[in-house]
C-alpha cells in the first residue's frame, strides 16, 4: 500500500476482478448488484482507515467463533479523517454496471472502536465522535451523489455490542451514534439508506452468532433509515426472528431478509429460497419485503473460504428463488 490508493501494479488486476464480478453478478439476473467489495481487500470494517499515518495496528481484536481475530487499528493522534471513501469503489463499478448498484459502507459505530480506552492527549473523545460523524456523512453523501441506488451501512457490530455488553447500554449508544449521523440526511436521502446486520461472516465464521436477535432487533428498528438488511438464512429459528421483525416493523420500513447463507458451503436451491421467502411473507407485508444474502461473500485478501463460482451460484439461487416466490405470491 502506498498513499491513499493501492499498489498501481495491482490496479489492472483489481479492475479486471471488478469488471468480471459485475458481469457475473448481472448474469445472475439480480436487479441490484454490488462490486462484490473486490477492492475492500483489507476487510469491510477498516477499509476506510487502513494505512492512516495516525494509527497503530494494535487496536481492539474482534474475536470470531472459528478462533481467528480481526484486529482493528488504534488511533494514536488526532484529528481523525478517513483515508478513503467508498465512492471511489462505486465510481469504478459504475463504469461497467448496467443495472443499479448498491454500495456498502461501514457504520460510524463500528469505527468508534478505533479510539483507545485511555484516550488521546490533545484530541478528546468528543471531538473524535464529531469528526467520525462528519466523515461518515461525507462518505454516504458522496456515494449517493455518485449514483448509488442504495447505500447499505454495515452494522455488524450491533450484535457484537450485545455480546460485549449484555446490558444493552453499548448497543443503545451505537444506535444513538448512528442516528445522530443519519439525522444529517434529508428524509429523501434516508429512503435510499439501509442498515445491514449479521453475526459478522468472515472466513466462514461469525463473531456474534450466539447473540439472540431478541436483544438486537428492537433497538435496530430504532435506526432512522428506510431499509433493513437482516441475516436470516443461517438463523436456527427463523420464524421466531420473523415474529420479532413483524413486532417492530414500521410502515415506512422495507426489510430485506437473508435467504442465502454465505458461510454455508452448500448452494441453496431456488426452491429452498422460494420457501424461505414465502415463509417470510407470512410475517412481513409483501410490499415491504425483499430478499438478500445473509452477508457478503467476504472477498478479503486473506479469506479464501468461498469460491467465486459458489458465491454466484448462491446468488443465482436467490434471484431464481425470489422470482419463484414472487410468482407464487402473485407479485408482478
Amino acid at each position: 500500500m502506498r498513499g491513499a490508493g493501492s499498489d498501481p501494479a495491482l490496479d489492472p488486476l483489481y479492475d479486471a476482478a471488478v469488471r468480471e464480478t459485475i458481469e457475473l453478478f448481472e448474469a445472475t439476473g439480480s436487479p441490484v448488484i454490488t462490486d462484490g467489495e473486490q477492492r475492500k481487500y483489507h476487510n469491510f470494517w477498516t477499509y476506510s482507515v487502513e494505512g492512516l499515518p495516525n494509527t497503530r495496528p494494535d487496536g481492539f481484536a474482534i474475536p470470531f467463533a472459528a478462533g481467528h481475530v480481526r484486529r482493528m487499528p488504534r488511533l494514536v493522534t488526532g484529528p481523525f479523517a478517513y483515508r478513503r471513501y467508498a465512492d471511489r469503489y462505486l465510481e469504478q463499478a459504475l463504469r461497467y454496471a448496467r443495472v443499479p448498484l448498491k454500495q456498502a459502507v461501514i457504520s460510524p459505530s463500528a469505527l468508534s472502536l478505533l479510539y483507545p480506552e485511555q484516550g488521546i492527549p490533545g484530541y478528546s473523545r468528543d471531538t473524535f465522535i464529531e469528526d467520525l460523524m462528519r466523515e461518515h456523512v461525507t462518505e454516504v453523501s458522496r456515494c449517493l451523489e455518485h449514483g448509488a441506488c442504495k447505500v447499505q451501512i454495515d452494522f455488524t457490530e450491533g450484535r457484537l455490542a450485545v455480546k460485549i455488553d449484555p446490558s444493552g447500554e453499548l448497543l443503545a449508544s451505537f444506535i444513538d451514534l448512528n442516528n445522530l449521523a443519519l439525522a444529517r440526511f434529508t428524509s429523501g436521502q434516508r429512503e435510499r439508506l439501509g442498515v445491514h446486520t449479521c453475526p459478522g461472516g468472515d472466513r466462514d465464521s461469525t463473531h456474534s452468532a450466539d447473540v439472540d436477535y431478541a436483544d438486537l432487533l428492537p433497538a435496530l428498528f430504532q435506526l432512522n433509515v428506510g431499509n433493513f438488511y437482516i441475516a436470516l438464512a443461517a438463523e436456527p429459528d427463523r420464524v421466531r426472528v420473523l415474529e420479532m421483525i413483524r413486532a417492530h416493523l414500521k410502515p415506512e420500513h422495507r426489510v430485506f431478509v437473508g435467504v442465502i447463507s454465505p458461510i454455508d458451503p452448500r448452494v441453496e436451491t431456488p426452491e429452498e429460497v422460494r420457501d424461505r421467502v414465502l415463509q417470510a411473507a407470512k410475517y412481513i407485508p409483501v410490499a415491504q419485503l425483499g430478499t438478500t444474502d445473509d452477508c457478503g461473500f467476504s472477498p478479503f485478501c486473506d479469506d479464501l473460504s468461498t469460491t467465486r463460482a459458489t458465491a454466484f451460484a448462491k446468488i443465482r439461487a436467490r434471484v431464481q428463488g425470489t422470482a419463484l416466490a414472487a410468482r407464487a405470491l402473485g407479485v408482478p
Binding site: F60, M133, I164, L170, D176, L180
Partner: protein, 952 residues
C-alpha cells in the same frame, strides 16, 4: 485471560465512547430545542405581521386573492368578496370563470389575455386595471397585481395577488385629463406651450407644445441642470434671477431668451410665468406659458443689420422723393459729400450735381417714375467744398405698401481712387509684359477657367505657334501624348486646390522635336481682396540637364554594381584563402608531426614505415591541391590547351575508376560501371577527360558514406555521349544546386569541415568539359538522397586516319608507378639548388639509381663546376637568390665549347604553372618538372634526356 482482558478494555472503551455519544446527542437535542423555540417565536411574529397586514389591507381597501390553478379555485378575502358581491362561501373557492362574468364586457378580453400572458411569461407577472360591473349598474375600477407561482418542474400552480379599488383615482384622472385637454386647446390657439416648475422637486414639466418648442420629450420632467444645458450661461443666470424675484415678490415675469435644442437647433423663446402657492400660502413653484419667437427675433435682427449696413456703408446711401428732395442721408454720404444729415435732408438732390450735369437728374427721375433701375452709372458730383468727385450711381425706385413709387434710394460710390488705380494697373501690366517678353523663360498665364490667356514671346518662339493658336486650350497641342494625361492631372488638381505645382514634361519645339522643360506655376490671388484669378507659370528648358543627370545615375549604378561585385569577390577570396590555408595546413600538420616523430623511431620499424607513408600521402594531397589551383589558374587565364586526339571514353572511365577504387574500397563504397560498347571514340584530350572523371569520382567517394554505392554509366544520347556519375551520398540541397560548379563553393560550412577540399574540383570539371564543347549538369532529389553528375560530350566524327594515327599514350601507359625505373649508372648529374635539403634529396634520388651526383648552391658555383667536371646533365632550381634558374640556363647556353652549351638541363621548380613551364622551356631547359617531384618522374626524365635506354 488475555482475551478476557482485551474484551474488558474493548467494553470499557466502547462505554466511554457511549458517554461522548450521549453528550453529542444531548447537544443535538439542545440545538433542536433551541431551534424549535426560535421557530415558535418566528411563527408568532409572523402571525402578528399577518394580522397587521390584513388590517392595513382592509383599511386601504386592498383585497387579496389567490387562484389555485390546478384546482381552478379562486379564493377572495372579505374586501374583494364585498367588491365582487359574492357570499363568503363563494369567496372561499369558486372557478375563475365565475368571477370573469362580473368584469365589464369591454375589459374581459384584456383580463383573460393578461392572465394567459402571466402564465406563459418567464416573470409570471400579472398586472392590469379593469372595470367591475356592479349589480346596481355602477362601475368600479380595480387595479390588480399578481405573481404566478410554479413547482419544481416549472408548472404554474398558483396565482396570488392583490386588488385595489381605484375608482376615485380614475375619476380624478378623467377630470384632470379633460381639464388639460381644454387648456391645450387654448394654448394651441395662441401657439403657446404650458410649463410648470415644482419648487420641491426642482423639476420642470412641459406640456406637449412647450416640449416641442424645447425640442424635448414631454413625458419626462427636466431637471434644472438639463434646462441649463439648453440655454446660454447668460440666459440661465437671467432666468434664475427672474424666478427668484417672482417667488420672492409674487410677481409675474416675462423673459425672452435663446434656446439650443438637443438637436442643435437654435431658437428664441418668450416665457411668461406666475408663482403658484400651496394650501398654506407658501410658494410651491411657478407655472406659465412659453412661445417660440424665433421668427420675430430673426426679422428684428435683419432689420437691425440692414440699418447697420446702411449706416456703416462706405458708400453714400441716400433716399429722395420723386421730386428730388433728400429724405435720408447716411454716414457714407456725409463722408463723401461733406454735408451733415441736418444739412442735407430736406434739400434738393441737385445740391450735389455740378451745373454742367444738372440735366442728368431730370432724366434719372423720369426713368425712376417708369420703375426702372439705374445701375453703375458713372458720372461726377460735387462736394460741399466744391471739389468734383468721380462717382458710380445705382438708383432704385422705392414703393409704398400698395406698390406705388414714392421715391428712390440711391447708392453713390466714390470711384475717384479706383479710376486712378485702374490707370496704374494698366501701366503695371504693360511693364510686366515687356519684362516677360524679354525673359529667357517660357511664361504663361491662365484664368479661372484654366484657359490660358497669355504667353510670352519666348514661349511663342519656342513652340513656333501664334498667340491665337495657343490661347484658351490651344497650348495643349504642345504637350506630347505620352506626357499629356499626367500633365492634365497635375494641372487640374493643382488648379482645383489653388496650390502651386512644379513638374517636368516635354514640350513640342518649333523644329518638330520635343524638349524637356520644368514647369513652375503658382496661383494668382488679387491683391485687393485675395480672390483667386488664375495661374502664372514659367518653363525652363532642362533637356541637357536631364541628359547629364541620367548619365550620372548610370555611372552611379555601374559603380555600385562594380563595388558590389568586388565586395562579393572579396568575400569569396577571403573564404577561399581560409579554406586554402586549412587544406594546406592539414596535411602539413601530419607531415611535420611525423617528421619529428621519425627522428625518434628506429629505421625500418613499423612506426618508421607508417610515418613515411603518412608523410607521402599528405604530401600527395598537397600536390593535388596545388595542381587543382594551377589548373584553375590556367582555366581562368584561358591558358589550358587541349591535346585533342581520338579518345575511347571507356578506357578513360576505366582508368579513372581504377584510380579511385582503393579509396572507395577503403570506405566500403561500391563502384559499378555500365559502359555502352556502342559508344565509339570521340575527339578530346584523354588526360583532361580522365581528370574530369577522376574529379567526379573522387567527389562521389568523398560525399558517399560507408556502405554506399557509385554508378558510372556511359551511353549515347542522340548526338552526344553522356557519362553519368550517380552516388547514394549526402545529396545536395535544392538551393545549392545552382552553385555547385562555382569556384571555391561547397554546400556549407559544416560540410566544409566534414569534407575537406578547396571546392575547385567541380569548377575544373565544368571548364574542362566546356573546353570540349560539352556540358555538365547535376541533379539531386535533396539532402541525403544522393547526387548525379552528367557530363555530355559532343560526338565529333573521328576520321578513320585518326584511328590509325599514333595516339598519345594513355594515362595508364605513362604511369611512372607501374614501369620499371631505368638505371642512371655512369651518369653524372649536376644538381643546383640554393636549399641544402633539396640538394641532398635530389642527390639521394639519383644516387639510388646509380648516378653520380654533384651539387651546387648557386649559379656561379654551377658554372665553375661545369667547367671543372664532366657533367652529363643539369638539374636546376629556378627560384634562387641573385642568380636565378632562367639566367643560369641562358648563361650556360651561351657557353663555349659546344659540349657545355648543349648540356641537357631539367628545370626542377616550385613554379608549377603552365606559364612557368613555358618560360623555363623558352629559357633553355629541355624539361620542366614541378616540385614536389615524383622520384620516378625525375629519374625517368633524366634518363630520357641523356637518351639512356631502359637497363636492367
Amino acid at each position: 485471560m488475555a482475551d478476557e482482558e482485551e474484551q474488558r478494555r474493548l467494553r470499557s472503551a466502547a462505554l466511554k465512547n457511549a458517554e461522548s455519544i450521549l453528550a453529542a446527542r444531548q447537544r443535538v437535542e439542545r440545538e433542536l430545542l433551541d431551534a424549535k423555540e426560535a421557530l415558535e417565536r418566528k411563527t408568532e411574529e409572523l402571525q402578528d405581521v399577518r394580522a397587521r397586514l390584513e388590517a392595513t389591507l382592509r383599511a386601504a381597501e386592498i383585497g387579496t386573492w389567490i387562484w389555485d390553478i390546478r384546482q381552478d379555485r379562486v379564493v377572495l378575502d372579505a374586501n374583494l368578496a364585498n367588491m365582487f358581491e359574492v357570499s363568503p362561501e363563494v369567496a372561499a373557492g369558486a372557478p375563475l370563470q365565475s368571477y370573469l362574468a362580473a368584469i365589464h364586457p369591454e375589459d374581459r378580453p384584456r383580463v383573460q389575455a393578461a392572465i394567459a400572458q402571466a402564465l406563459d411569461s418567464e416573470n409570471g407577472r400579472y398586472e392590469l386595471d379593469f372595470r367591475l360591473l356592479r349589480s346596481d349598474g355602477s362601475i368600479r375600477w380595480l387595479a390588480v397585481r399578481g405573481q404566478v407561482q410554479r413547482d419544481a418542474t416549472g408548472t404554474a400552480t398558483h396565482l396570488p395577488g392583490v386588488s385595489i379599488d381605484i375608482t376615485a383615482r380614475k375619476q380624478a384622472e378623467d377630470a384632470v385629463r379633460e381639464s388639460a385637454e381644454r387648456l391645450q386647446l387654448t394654448l394651441a390657439a395662441g401657439a403657446l406651450g404650458d410649463w410648470s416648475w415644482d419648487a420641491k422637486t426642482d423639476l420642470l414639466s412641459l406640456g406637449t407644445r412647450a416640449a416641442e418648442i424645447f425640442g424635448v420629450c414631454a413625458d419626462a420632467p427636466l431637471t434644472r441642470a438639463q434646462i441649463r444645458e439648453l440655454m446660454t450661461a447668460e440666459d440661465a443666470e437671467r432666468m434664475n434671477a427672474v424666478f427668484e424675484d417672482a417667488l420672492k415678490n409674487g410677481a409675474d415675469f416675462h423673459l425672452e431668451y435663446r434656446l439650443v435644442r438637443p438637436s442643435g437647433e437654435h431658437c428664441w423663446v418668450a416665457a411668461r410665468g406666475r408663482p403658484v402657492y400651496d394650501a398654506y400660502g407658501a410658494p410651491s413653484g411657478v407655472a406659465g406659458v412659453v412661445q417660440d419667437i424665433t421668427e420675430r427675433k430673426q426679422s428684428e435682427a435683419i432689420r437691425n443689420r440692414l440699418a447697420d449696413v446702411v449706416a456703416s456703408s462706405d458708400d453714400a446711401i441716400i433716399s429722395k422723393t420723386l421730386d428730388g428732395v433728400i429724405t435720408s442721408w447716411n454716414q457714407g454720404a456725409e463722408r463723401i459729400f461733406g454735408y451733415s444729415p441736418d444739412e442735407a435732408i430736406g434739400q434738393p438732390v441737385t445740391l450735389l450735381i455740378p451745373p454742367d450735369h444738372i440735366d442728368e437728374e431730370a432724366a434719372i427721375l423720369a426713368r425712376l417714375r417708369r420703375g426702372e433701375r439705374i445701375e453703375h452709372y458713372e458720372t461726377v458730383r460735387r462736394r460741399k467744398d466744391g471739389t468734383i468727385l468721380d462717382v458710380s450711381l445705382s438708383v432704385s425706385p422705392m414703393r409704398d405698401v400698395n406698390g406705388e413709387i414714392i421715391g428712390a434710394s440711391k447708392i453713390a460710390r466714390d470711384v475717384t481712387h479706383q479710376k486712378r488705380a485702374d490707370e496704374a494697373l494698366q501701366a503695371s501690366n504693360q511693364r510686366f509684359r515687356l519684362m516677360a517678353d524679354s525673359a529667357p523663360a517660357l511664361i504663361w498665364m491662365s484664368d479661372l477657367t484654366k484657359a490660358c490667356t497669355w504667353f510670352n514671346q519666348a514661349w511663342l518662339e519656342f513652340t513656333g505657334r501664334t498667340m491665337e493658336q495657343e490661347l484658351g486650350f490651344g497650348w495643349v497641342q504642345n504637350i506630347p501624348p505620352e506626357d499629356l494625361d499626367r500633365f492634365l492631372q497635375i494641372y487640374t488638381e493643382s488648379f482645383d486646390a489653388r496650390t502651386a505645382f512644379k513638374m517636368e514634361h516635354r514640350l513640342g519645339c518649333h523644329d518638330g522635336s520635343s524638349r524637356w522643360v520644368i514647369n513652375n506655376a503658382v496661383p494668382l490671388f488679387e491683391a485687393a481682396h485675395g480672390g483667386f484669378s488664375g495661374y502664372i507659370g514659367s518653363c525652363i528648358d532642362i533637356t541637357e540637364l536631364r541628359q547629364a543627370a541620367r548619365e550620372r545615375e548610370h555611372l552611379l549604378q555601374s559603380e555600385r554594381a562594380a563595388r558590389t561585385e568586388a565586395e562579393r569577390l572579396g568575400r569569396l577570396k577571403d573564404e577561399f584563402l581560409a579554406t586554402l590555408s586549412h587544406e594546406l595546413r592539414t596535411p602539413l600538420n601530419a607531415i611535420l608531426g611525423w617528421a619529428t616523430l621519425l627522428r625518434r623511431v628506429p629505421v625500418g620499424s613499423d612506426d618508421h614505415l607508417k610515418g613515411l607513408e603518412t608523410i607521402e600521402r599528405n604530401a600527395r594531397v598537397q600536390t593535388q591541391i596545388i595542381a587543382d589551383l594551377l589548373d584553375m589558374s590556367g582555366i581562368i587565364s584561358g591558358k589550358v590547351q587541349l591535346d585533342v586526339q581520338p579518345v575511347d571514353l571507356r578506357e578513360v572511365i576505366s582508368a579513372a575508376l581504377d584510380a579511385v577504387r582503393p579509396s572507395a574500397d577503403a570506405k566500403k563504397v561500391r563502384l559499378r560501371a555500365t559502359l555502352d560498347a556502342k559508344v565509339g571514340r570521340i575527339r578530346g584530350d584523354a588526360n583532361r577527360l580522365q581528370q574530369v572523371l577522376w574529379n567526379l569520382l573522387t567527389n562521389a567517394v568523398k560525399f558517399t558514406p560507408a556502405g554506399g554505392r557509385i554508378d558510372v554509366v556511359l551511353e549515347r544520347v542522340n548526338s552526344h555521349v553522356e557519362i553519368a556519375v550517380e552516388d547514394s551520398g549526402i545529396g545536395i540541397k535544392p538551393e545549392f544546386l545552382a552553385f555547385v560548379f562555382d569556384r571555391f563553393r561547397q554546400a556549407d560550412a559544416s560540410i566544409t569541415r566534414r569534407h575537406g577540399g578547396l571546392g575547385l574540383g567541380l569548377s575544373i570539371v565544368k571548364h574542362l568539359v566546356e573546353l570540349h564543347g560539352g556540358s555538365v549538369r547535376v541533379k539531386s532529389p535533396g539532402e541525403g538522397q544522393g547526387s548525379t553528375f552528367i557530363v555530355a560530350l559532343p560526338i565529333s566524327v573521328v576520321r578513320s586516319d585518326d584511328a590509325g594515327r599514333h595516339e598519345r599514350p594513355s594515362f595508364a601507359e605513362v604511369d611512372l608507378f607501374s614501369v620499371k625505373l631505368p638505371s642512371l649508372a655512369g651518369i653524372t648529374v649536376l644538381i643546383v639548388d640554393d636549399e641544402p635539403d633539396a640538394r641532398v634529396l635530389i642527390s639521394r634520388l639519383v644516387e639510388e639509381r646509380g648516378a653520380r651526383a654533384i651539387v651546387a648552391g648557386s649559379g656561379e658555383e654551377t658554372l665553375r663546376l661545369l667547367a671543372a667536371e664532366s657533367i652529363d646533365i643539369l638539374v636546376s632550381d629556378i627560384g634562387m637568390p641573385d642568380y636565378d634558374g632562367y639566367r643560369l640556363i641562358q648563361a650556360i647556353r651561351a657557353l663555349d665549347p659546344k659540349r657545355l652549351r648543349n648540356i641537357p638541363a631539367i628545370a626542377l621548380t616550385a613554379y608549377a604553372r603552365a606559364e612557368d613551364r613555358q618560360r623555363a622551356l623558352l629559357a633553355g631547359y629541355q624539361m620542366h618538372l614541378s616540385k614536389p617531384v615524383e622520384p620516378r618522374e625525375l629519374v625517368a626524365g633524366i634518363a630520357s634526356l641523356v637518351n639512356i635506354q631502359q637497363r636492367p
